[in-house]
Symmetry: C2
Subunit: 190 residues, 2 copies
DNA sequence: AATTATAGAATGAACGTTCATTCAGTGGGG
DNA sequence: CCCCACTGAATGAACGTTCATTCTATAATT
């Protein structure tokens, strides 16, 4: 009888602690304490720390996708859809700094590289962004560049400015986000 | 009598191993072995592992700066100088994958965040890039955005594509680099 | 001979994981 | 309605490993 409620507690604790102190600054004992559970109990819910970390990411991926897809202007022009996605991403990140820090750590680790590799080699027809860029290319609206480069031009800066905001190197507001997202569009558009 | 030659061996070993296996996959004993030295000896040259890591970064920073500044077209238009810096950065990274991986790890860690904070709060008049953007702003050539955002638009994608190349997700050649750097210019120019 | 550098074993702290034990909840027999 | 046997979730001390760092005996240098 595995309670989903306890599982969520553990994921939440892992998220908080790893976001705050990194993978290696968040020992299982500490995660257990934060979750209100004994160290051994975690192993009833997750096979290992690795699995716990990956499941925590899966949980976040769901959240992010839901946030980006909310009120997605399906059928509207490429540019409008691009701006929608971009703004949603930045707003999700700066509204969820803990989640942002976790995801960033995740991607800058062997976990994340493996994850990216799968995604790039995997089916592209389910990825809303890849779809969007491909359509833009076909319509000659977007520069004819390999997909990973378009991703880098469009989303690299957005992640960077989200981090800078969270670290308080800058303060983003709606206007600044608007301008930056527009600049990213300048980078990818023909 | 501390031999500089041995110091460099140790830095080289730290660089290779940390680039390959991360900070936590590169124990002092392994660095020592690679450097052809005993574990304890490292401590005659570096106070701690932390210091060794930071000194390794300082060493790389020198290398990178030298690479970027070689044949810098001082006095030429903003756009030309921008393209020079951008191309030099990408070429340095893809020509030195090990160095790239180390620097990336360094910046995605508490070391790097501290380092960035210092740099952003420190004197800007010595930073060639900040200088360039500021001049571009004054001349109305570059968008009027905070410096960290211009950095993100210009260099974020370059780092991303360098990583993608090193991980073999894409294959960069001179033409592709040229196109991408031009796209970054589109992002920052008015 | 005296001083300093090096090697590598020793140390102790920290970690992920395991496992013998405890505990709470359930159901069946009286 | 009570009692007791049973189940399996939860516990947390203990284990084995790994690591940075220190210590000490030895080698090299002056």
């Amino acid at each position: 009888m595995v309670k989903p409620e306890k599982r969520e507690e553990i994921i939440g604790a892992a998220l908080e602690l790893i976001a705050g102190h990194g993978f290696h600054g968040a020992p299982m004992a500490m995660i257990a304490e934060r979750a209100g559970v004994a160290a051994g109990t975690i192993y009833r819910y997750f096979e290992s720390k690795d699995v716990l970390i990956r499941e925590t990411y899966v949980f976040l991926e769901g959240q992010m996708l839901a946030s980006v897809m909310a009120r997605y202007p399906e059928g509207k022009p490429v540019r409008e859809r691009f701006l929608h996605i971009s703004k949603k991403i930045v707003n999700y990140f700066i509204g969820s700094p803990m989640e942002f820090r976790f995801v960033e750590q995740f991607f800058n680790s062997p976990y994340g590289v493996a994850c990216r590799r799968e995604k790039l080699l995997g089916r592209k027809d389910q990825d809303i962004c890849a779809e969007l860029f491909e359509e833009g290319c076909r319509l000659q609206i977007i520069k004819d560049l390999p997909l990973p480069i378009l991703f880098a031009l469009a989303f690299g800066p957005l992640i960077d400015i989200s981090r800078d905001h969270i670290l308080e190197f800058i303060t983003l507001d709606a206007l600044l986000i608007e301008k930056t997202v527009a600049a990213c569009w300048d980078a990818v558009k023909r």
